[in-house]
């Protein structure tokens, strides 16, 4: 179900076709600027949400033996968020209007899955990081196609590095018995669907 929805929402041919209908008078520089604006907006909201997810998980599981692992991942997410906060004024991007919702929803997700147990918290991490890895890869592909490689090198390098970090978090989650969480498949599908919906909305709003 989630895969079907993600295909519908992210079918890149239909996205480009629809955008080309409406933009016959738009200069290429304008399109690149809009792309970068959208990328930075989504990523800042995503890193904020990730930061809050780990905060929620730490609030419940901070004193258990996975506490240090979660703390380590949380610190990396904080660094990611700081980097995007720096990029927003630099590229004159608009932050998402849904940031307060991302804040609350992230904390609720983190705390909620942590209350279901350590393995469920790790399953949540695995699901979120899988979606984010795929999302960063899509962005890198778009940037390679549309953006100026020399001027925006910093942005491309940043996204590449963050994608590698998130992929490591994904593997950490799996290594910590995420697959033993109750209803692992359903839990991860629902969380992935929620993340993709969040990405879709934040790109636009």
């Amino acid at each position: 179900m989630s895969r079907f929805l993600s295909k519908v929402i992210f079918r890149s041919e239909s996205r480009r076709f629809l955008s080309s209908l409406a933009t016959f008078d738009v200069k290429p520089e304008q399109k690149t600027r809009e792309l970068i604006d959208k990328i930075i907006r989504v990523d800042q909201a995503g890193e904020l949400a990730a930061d809050r997810i780990y905060a929620g998980q730490m609030a419940v599981l901070g004193h258990t033996d996975v506490g240090p692992t979660i703390q380590h991942m949380w610190d990396e997410e904080k660094a990611h968020l700081a980097k995007f906060n720096e990029l927003i004024p630099k590229y004159k991007a608009r932050p998402s209007a849904l940031l307060p919702i991302a804040n609350i929803a992230g904390y609720a997700l983190g705390a909620g899955t942590a209350l279901l147990g350590k393995e469920a918290a790790m399953a949540c991490t695995v699901a979120v990081e899988a979606v984010i890895g795929e999302h960063y890869n899509n962005q890198l592909r778009d940037l390679m196609e549309h953006a100026d490689q020399t001027k925006d090198k910093d942005l491309i390098e940043t996204i590449r590095k963050f994608r590698d970090d998130e992929s490591q978090h994904h593997d950490t989650g799996l290594a910590n018995n995420a697959e033993q969480a109750p209803f692992y498949r359903n839990l991860t599908s629902v969380i992935k669907l929620g993340c993709r919906l969040g990405i879709y909305l934040t790109e636009r709003i």
Binding site: D25, K27, Q44, N85, I88, P89, K92, R94, P95, A97, L99, P100
Partner: protein, 239 residues
Amino acid sequence: MHQTKSSYDTKKTDRTSDVNEIPIQRESDIRDNILSESLKHVTDKGWTMEAIRAGVRASNQPTTVEGLFSNGYDLVDYFMRDANAKMATYMSEKAKSGEKQGSRLLIDALKYRIGLVVPYANTWDQALAQGALPQNAMRGWKNILDLSSDAWHGAGDTSTDINWYSKRLILAAIYKSAEIYMLQDQSQDKIDTMNFLERRLGDFQTLGSVRNSMSKSVSDAGQIASGLFSVVRNLTSRR
């Protein structure tokens, strides 16, 4: 005597030289050039297609080029975008030379921006009335929001959350009220408008909250009301 050019002789004429090429202009550049010419005709013809046609004639373009423009609002839109760009350059120059910074820079940039509208003050109420029509409202809003975004970026704003939105909306509202004030301002060089802008922005800086930055003084509210009246009068006139 083999001085005659034979048609097979490819060495004499350089067909690949750049000098013979006709430069291809982008459609948006052509439109911008014509609109900047048309601005000179606004005081007598208003912000209408008539002024744009005069601009087309003045820039020696064929009259069919008129098809690139949909209504008189294109002229207002161009003027606002151009003025925003000039304000952004003004701000970056002043910031680089270090003469002004922070809130002083913001206030002076907005005064500069409204100073760019002052030469057209007689017909500006027409422009604002056109901007209130539904087909033009989106573009008008976008230009005002771009103005306030450029002003904040020039002043070095680094907010990354809901403040980003509130700062821009408040500044847009203040600037808009200053433009409306300008419509009925009879003072020399619109000095009263500049003082109004200074007062409103000063209030905003010191009190810094949405509720308090709305106009407190009764006389300011009266001036805004009479400016709004002239906008409404233009909206309902049968031109």
